[in-house]
Structure formats: C-alpha cells, structure tokens
C-alpha cells in the first residue's frame, strides 16, 4: 500500500517523464518483436504489421497501461479540466455568454440566500436563543400588543415557565450637559433583563433587583460607542453622571463592543426601568422577554400564561375589559422576524426562477455547441476512448463551466449582498447578514450541480454509437433534429413560462406602489413642514407649563411672514398615529367583557386642522370653550362617524375614553375629513382631543409655509429656539419627505423584484436568440432549397421569426396559467390591486412578445442574408 502511494506521487509529479518512459518501453518491445519476426522469416513490412497486431496497437496498449497506474483518474480529470478551459477560451462568444448567465443566476441566488440565512435561518445572537420568548397580549388571532405595568408585574410574580423575565420600554431621549443636546435611543430595562437575554455589561455590572423600584436612584448602562464618544475608555465611564431628559443618571455598566440592540430594539442607553404600582391597567407599552426553563415547552408556557391572565385580568376589569385577551408567548426569533418571512420567501422564489432560467439557457447553449463536436467525439471513440471515458470528459468540461460560473457568481454575490443590505435597510437582523461559509457552500453546490447538468445534457442527445455516420461529418446528426431539437424548443418555451410569473409579480407590485403613491393622504402635502419636539420634564414639569410654551410658540410662529397656518399634534400623517386608545360609545356600548373598539387618538390644536386644510364636515372646531375646566370634547374623522354612526349624526354623541368608567364621558363636537395616520394603505378613522384639555410632552409642529421648504423649516426652528434656547434639536421633515419615506419599503421590494423580472426577460430573449441562431446556422441547406424553389428573403425571415414566436407564445400561455395560480397569495403585499389584474397581465404579454421579437430579429436577418448557392453547395 505504501508503495502504491509513493507510486501515486511519482506518477503525478513525474508525469512527463513517466509518459516518455512508457512510450520508449512499448516502442522498444515493438522493435524487439519485429526483429524476432524478421529473424523468423517475415519481410519487414509484414513483420511490422504482425507485431502491431500482436501488441494490439501502440496507443491502445499505452492507454491500457495508463489506466492501471496510480492516480490515473485524477490525471485524466485534470487533463479534461485543462481541455475544458482551452475549449472555453477558443469559443469566447459561447463562454462569455454562458459564464455571465450563470454568474447572474448563481450570484443573485447567493446574495438573496445570504440575506435569508442571516435574517430567517440563523439563530439569534444570544446564548441558547431558542429558549428566548417574547410575551405579548393577544386578543384575536391577528391582534397582538404590548404589556402594561400590571401585566408585567403579574408576569414577574406569578409565572412558572421562565427562569427569568425582563421588560423593556423604548423611547427617545435627550442627553444634555456636555455640549450640544443630543438625541439618543433609549431602552429602559428592568433588573434581570440583561440576564434573561444572556448579554451582560462587559465593564461594570447590571442592575440590582432593588433598583427597579420607583423613586430609586437613576442608574444606566451605556453602549460601548456611546461611552467611547462621551467618556473615552469604557473603564472611565463607570461612576460618571449623564443627564438624560433632565434627570441625572449614574453610569454603572458599559455593554460589550458591537452590542447595539437587544431583543430587536436598538439603543444607545439602557437606563433602569422603574415601575410603581399602577392605578389602571393601561397604557400598553412594555416589551416583555422571558427565558424558558429547561424542559419547558412553548405550549406549557402558553398554558401557564393563560392561567396567569385568568387570575389577574378580572381584578382590573374597571379600567380595561377584554375577555379574550391572554398573555401569549411567541419565540423571540419569530417575533423579531415576523412577516418579513413571507416577503423574503417571495424574493427567494423569484431568484430561484431566475437561476432556473439561467441554467436552462446555458444547457441550451451547451447542446448547440455539443452538436458541432459530434465528429470530435466519434474520432475519440475510434482512438480507443470508451463511452465512460467520453462521458467523464464531458462532465469535466461541464464542471469547469459550472465552476467558472460559480466563481464569477460568488464575486457578484459579494457585491449583491452589500447592495441588498443598503437597499433593505429596515429589515430586522440585517446587521447579522454576511457572505458566510454556508452561502459559499451553497453557491459551490449549485455551480457543481449545474456543471454536471451541462456535461450530461449533450450525452443524452449527442454521442452517437454509429461511428461511421458521425465520421462522415453529416452535420445534421441527431442533435440537429428530432428529439434534441424538440427538447431545446421546450427549454426555450419553459424559459418564457418561467419569466411570466416574475414579470407579473413585478407588475403587480409596481401597480400597488403607484396606487400607494397616488392615494390621497387626506390633505394637500405641498409646502407643509413638520418638527417633532419633546419638552424635557425638568423645565416643563406639568401640563400647564407645556401648554404655556406651545401657546406662546404658536402665536409667534403664526405671526411670521410666510407662515400661513401652524398647529401641533401628538401624531403625524401618514403613518405615525402616536397613541391608539380604546373607547366605548355611551349609547352603543359593547357587551360586558367584550373587546372595546380602538382608534388613533390625537391631541391637537385647531391650527393643526388649518395647516392641513382638513374640511369641517359637521359641527364645530375646538375653540376657547374647550379648556382644562370644561367638559371633555372630541372631534372625529368622517370615516369614524360613518363607521360608528352610519346614516346618523355623530355630533353630540358621547364616549368613554380608555375604559375609564369613573371619568366624565367625552362629547363629540365636530366631524372632519379623513386623514391617513396608519400608513397610506390604512384607514382614516381618528379621534382628536383638544390640546387645551390634555397636554403632551411629545408634540409635532405642523406648518404650511410659502416658498421653499428648507428655509421654512429654518424659520420654525429659529423661532422655537428663541422661545427656549435649551431646547434639544427637533426632528424636522417636510410632509413630502414623510409621504415618500412611508412607501420606502414597498418601493424597495418592487425595485428588487423588478430587477429579477428584468433579468429573467433578458435571459429568455437570449434563450430564444440562441436557439434560433443555431437553427439558422444548421438549416443552411434547407434555406437554400427554399430559395431555389422560389421563396424570397422575406419568406425566410418570416419562417425564422414565426418559429421563434410560436415558442414564445406557447411559453407565455403556460406562464400566464402559472402566474394566475401563484400570484393569488401575494394579496397581502398589494394595495388596491387584484392579483389577476388585466392591465398587468396584458402588459406583461406585450412586453414578452416584444422581447421575443427582439430575440428573433438577428437570426431572422441572418436567414435573409443566406446565399442560396453557397448553402446548397456547402453540405
């Protein structure tokens, strides 16, 4: 055995020498035989012939010896690979198209797979992340929401399934003290949260249980980058004080570098969450995470939590009724990734289709080329290569092609992943996406598999066992007609069929996007600017101070030249409703224990309505009658009124806000036009409360200004700064920017899918081009005959074009059938578009027919340029 291995290395590294030695040995034996035969009486020529026969031919004999030498298989494979490379070099047109096609298909696939891997497949970056669970309240199969303080405290005290539980309240805050006031992302977390997640501060410590009690010292854990920006090294940050929202907080820990988010919430600071005993069950703002005890399943947990719900909720019935609400566990991974999964899978399906089309194209190209090599194959066969040997060679060539395509695809994938990450910036877990080993393995697998396909395809159709016919060079061998041609035609038709669903999906998304962008948000968005501001509790400790600030500020701002109207609101169109509140209609209450309706609940000044230009449908605006001492009033939107009081007037009706049965009911005094607050694809229901009666810290200024918007914003900022120089920066944007940002996600998906659909159509065109080119080049003689029989050039062109179009139309029809079936489940991604929209389908058909025509054009022209005499004589 050892000597075999030694022989292997000898054979491999001394290949040329071994080959020369073998040649010399066989030839010397031949010589010896000849000499022997001459000595026995034959003449030289006869002796030579007899000797050759006895040896069995010099080359075949050498081949037989080679076959048994160690390392033979590898050597032949290596030789085939080199041949394959050379063949590709000699056929640059074919090679470039084939490799690019593969690179596109494989590269796109790998890039998307990377994203899917990072976002969907890989486990979350926490220790034993499959035991992490997010606890929601759920009152219907589709409605989940956050926990209130009551729920969270009940969870902490009564649950049995978790070894630890943590709560998180996210917000934004302002850090002051050192230089410019700065916005930061804040995640207040309960003691035990870091332990639950399994991620502890690298320097310092996490919170003690006692620190979660209300009124205690304000302590905070900071992120590594925050610490670096403000305190320098992590160790020096400990013990320092920072001022958050006007409160002094002591830094007790610094998170490890790279930790920017926990439980899906990004944060720069993690102050301790301090909860006091609540007075009512709402509001609902806490994100709760639990780590399951070993051995406890999600189902066990669900039962346990349902039990807790049953015990606790009835206690708080007066402030919130909902018989069906239960605390529900959802695995953290599912909670984080959510419904992104569907969209991603859609994209993955699209990419798979493109890959399939790409591989089909290359198979077609390979088949076309293989037919020209029939003679070569026949020659090799005559020289002693067995069927198996030829097969191995073809497969090796295919693998070379696949390998090169895969390599190019790998490069493309790297760029693709970076592009995708930039494009889809709002996907959860995007920072975990990278081109990792799994994907490289995935790419390589596809490359090798497609390579084998390419090798085998010609074998199925091209290698004839009838040597004589092949050697004669009759170019119209098996591969030019019969089953091979039918197969190639089927492939092209299949490409069109596969391109259709992609194009239809892209078209539907495009239409949906268009609808979204053109739907009326309920107001005229031009010349509107917004500025969102939080008044720090230190300088504005109560409602009165807040109202005083804003009343003054609004008066000043409205006095500015160029400002037409200005108002403030707690929510901003198109997709920030602020708070949604539950309510009960006094004259049409819901069943006791049943779920109360909810609606966006906005606190506004009447200037808000003026600035937006909302029409008053009924009743009156807010005015000086509505202040803190008077009865609570509200204005509702038109769709709210139509929904709850169809055919009647909503003015004068009363409702109970927030389940507070002991409070005075609110009276509806007016109805305004609708306004989009829950996204452009959402409804228009809303309830508005006067700022004079309820003040809020977070408000957005909305103003209509004349002229350029950025200078308009500057005006407002300066005015606000005048009112209080210590105010932190406001978040500003024009309304147009907000509307545009609101559709950014659908825009991304549409772009992505459109890209794939475009590539698919392009590949289908290349496919039909390839098949027709080949057809024309092979049917030269037939073309000549036709012309001799009287056909003119146009007839020939028509012949070619008709052939191509038949394939395209067949594929188109098949594709339409597929897409009508498949796009049905896209409904959730579409806005006001029917999946079987006739315009889209017709448009796609037209586009593909044009594409097919483009693919037929060049071959058609080539057919028209055929010289009949040459064609007839060449065969």
């Amino acid at each position: 055995m050892r000597s075999r291995v030694a022989a292997f290395f000898r054979n491999w590294f001394g290949r040329r020498a071994a080959e020369e030695s073998l040649d010399e040995e066989i030839r010397s034996c031949l010589e010896i035989l000849i000499v022997q035969k001459i000595a026995a009486g034959s003449d030289p020529q006869q002796a030579r012939r007899a000797a050759l026969i006895e040896l069995g031919g010099v080359e075949p004999l050498k081949e037989k010896v080679r076959e048994v030498k160690a390392g033979h298989v590898l050597a032949t494979f290596w030789r085939d690979v080199r041949f394959g490379l050379r063949a590709l070099r000699l056929n640059p047109g074919f090679s470039v198209v084939a490799i690019l096609t593969l690179a596109l298909g494989i590269g796109a696939n790998s890039a998307v797979f990377s994203v899917i891997n990072g976002v969907l497949l890989q486990p979350l970056p926490y220790p034993e992340s499959d035991r992490l669970v997010r606890i929601y309240q759920q009152n219907s199969p589709t409605n989940r929401f956050s926990l209130s303080v009551v729920d969270f405290q009940a969870l902490q005290e009564l649950q049995n399934s978790f070894e630890s539980v943590g709560g998180l309240a996210r917000s934004r805050g302002i850090v002051t003290g050192s230089g410019r006031p700065e916005w930061v992302r804040v995640a207040r977390v309960s003691p035990g949260f870091f332990e639950t997640m399994g991620v502890l501060p690298a320097v310092g410590r996490s919170f003690l249980d006692g620190e979660g009690a209300a009124g205690g010292e304000s302590v905070v854990v900071v992120s590594h980058s925050f610490s670096r920006n403000h305190f320098g090294e992590a160790a020096t940050a400990l013990g320092q004080t920072l001022t958050l929202d006007g409160t002094a907080s002591r830094v007790i820990g610094v998170m490890p570098p790279g930790v920017r988010e926990l439980a899906g919430v990004e944060a720069d600071l993690w102050p301790v969450l301090q909860l006091s005993t609540p007075a009512r069950r709402g509001p609902f703002f806490l994100l709760a995470i639990g780590r399951l005890r070993t051995g406890v399943s999600l189902d066990d947990c669900r039962l346990d939590l349902a039990d807790v719900s049953r015990r606790v909720f009835p206690i708080w019935e007066d402030t919130f009724q909902d018989e069906t609400a239960r605390l529900t566990p959802v695995s953290l991974r599912e909670a984080t990734v959510g419904d992104v999964g569907t969209a991603l899978l859609l994209v993955f399906a699209a990419v798979m289709l493109v890959l399939l089309i790409a591989v089909t194209n290359v198979v077609n190209l390979v088949l076309a080329r293989a037919s020209r090599r029939e003679r070569e194959m026949a020659l090799r066969s005559a020289l002693g290569a067995g069927k198996g040997r030829l097969a191995r060679q073809l497969v090796a060539e295919g693998v070379v092609l696949g390998g090169l395509g895969g390599l190019a695809g790998r490069l493309l994938a790297g760029a693709g992943v970076r592009a995708l990450v930039t494009l889809m910036g709002d996907l959860p877990r995007l920072q975990e996406v990278g081109l990792d080993l799994t994907v490289v393995g995935f790419t390589s697998l596809i490359a090798v598999m497609s390579g084998v396909c390419f090798g085998i395809a010609p074998l199925l159709f091209s290698v004839r066992s009838d040597l004589a016919t092949s050697l004669k060079g009759d170019d119209r061998g098996v591969s030019a007609g019969g089953s091979a041609q039918i197969f190639r035609n089927l492939l092209v038709a299949a490409e069109f069929a596969l391109a259709v669903p992609l194009l239809v999906a892209a078209g539907l998304l495009l239409t949906s996007l268009w609808n979204l962008q053109t739907v009326s948000p309920g107001f005229d968005a031009s010349n509107l600017v917004t500025a969102r501001l939080e008044l720090p509790s230190a300088s504005y400790p109560d409602d009165l101070s807040i109202q005083r600030f804003w009343n003054e500020a609004l008066r000043e701002i409205e006095g500015l030249p160029g400002v037409l109207d200005a108002g403030i609101s707690s929510g901003v169109p198109p997709d920030e409703p602020g708070v949604t509140n539950n309510f009960d209609l006094v004259d049409k209450p819901v069943e006791p224990g049943a779920r109360q309706p909810i609606a966006p609940w906005l606190i506004v000044t009447s200037g808000f309505f003026d600035a937006l230009g909302l029409p008053l449908v009924e009743g009156r605006w807010f005015d000086s009658r509505d202040h803190g001492e008077s009865s609570p009033v509200a204005i509702v939107s038109r769709s709210w009124a139509e929904h709850f009081y169809p055919g009647e007037s909503a003015v004068g009706r009363r409702l109970v806000s927030g389940g507070c049965t002991s409070c005075e009911p609110t009276t509806v005094v007016g109805v305004v036009g609708d306004l989009k607050l829950q996204g452009l694809d959402g409804g228009g229901q809303a309830v508005f409360i006067p700022f004079g009666q309820v003040a809020w810290r977070w408000m957005t200024l909305v103003a209509r200004v004349e002229g350029a918007s950025s200078s308009g914003i500057r005006l407002l900022i300066d005015k606000l700064q005048e009112q209080d120089p210590n105010l932190p920066l406001a978040q500003t944007a024009t309304m147009q920017e907000r509307l545009s940002a609101s559709v950014s996600k659908p825009r991304h998906w549409t772009l992505l899918l459109g890209l794939f659909a475009g590539v698919a159509a392009l590949l289908a065109a290349i496919g039909v081009f390839g098949v027709l080119s080949y057809f024309v080049s092979r049917q030269g003689r037939e073309m000549g005959i036709r012309m001799a029989l009287g056909a003119n050039r146009n007839d020939l062109v028509l012949l070619v074009v008709r052939r191509g179009m038949v394939l395209a139309v067949a594929g188109l029809l098949a594709g339409l059938a597929i897409s009508i079936y498949v796009t049905r489940w896209m409904q959730t991604l579409l806005f006001q578009v029917d999946p079987a929209d006739a315009v889209v389908l017709a448009g796609v058909c037209l586009l593909l027919l044009l594409v097919a025509l483009a693919g037929c054009y060049l071959p058609g022209r080539r057919a028209a340029l055929v010289d009949p005499r040459q064609a007839l004589m060449s065969e």
Partner: protein, 110 residues
Amino acid sequence: MAGRKTATPPGTLDLLILKAVSLEPLHGVGIAARIGQITAGTFQVSFGSLFPSLHQMEERGWLAAEWGTSENNRRAKFYRLTPAGTRRLKVEEEDWRRMVGVIDLALRSS
C-alpha cells in the same frame, strides 16, 4: 509453439509473471515468451494484459524495473523480482496449492 493457446486463467497472471522473472530479469516480450515456455505453450499471454500487470506490480513493489540492453542490442526495460516480490511469489504459490487441494477435494467427494 504448439498446443492449445488459451489466455491465462483469471488471477493467475501475477503468479506466472512472478515465476517467470524469478529466474532472471526479463523485458516485456521476454516475459511473455517465458510464460509460454514454462507452461509448455499452453498459455498465451496477451500484451494488453501483460503490460498493465507489470506496471501494477512494479507500483506495488514486487518488481523493480531497470533499463538495459536486449539480446539484439535494443534498449529495453527489464523487470526483476524484489525481496518483497520473492515473498509474494511464495505466498501466491501457497495460496494456489491450497486452492487446488480444496477443489480437488470437492471434486473427489461423492
């Protein structure tokens, strides 16, 4: 060479080659001739089986090859038995005799 010319029985070629070169180093043609000789002309070795076997056995270390001059002054590759080859010859010989004995036994039983 008279007598029936048949190919060597399967599995015996190696044994015959080892035996043939055990007496003196030979080149390919010479080995074929020697095998014909020591089997009284019964077995005719085809070069298509001989040369592959020679190379295989050389790789296995039972034969060693050297370039030399043939009887008619031609350069040729000579194969000789190595010590490992000698051992191998003995082993194969014993295996053969044992096998023959067993078959014999089987055929003689009624």
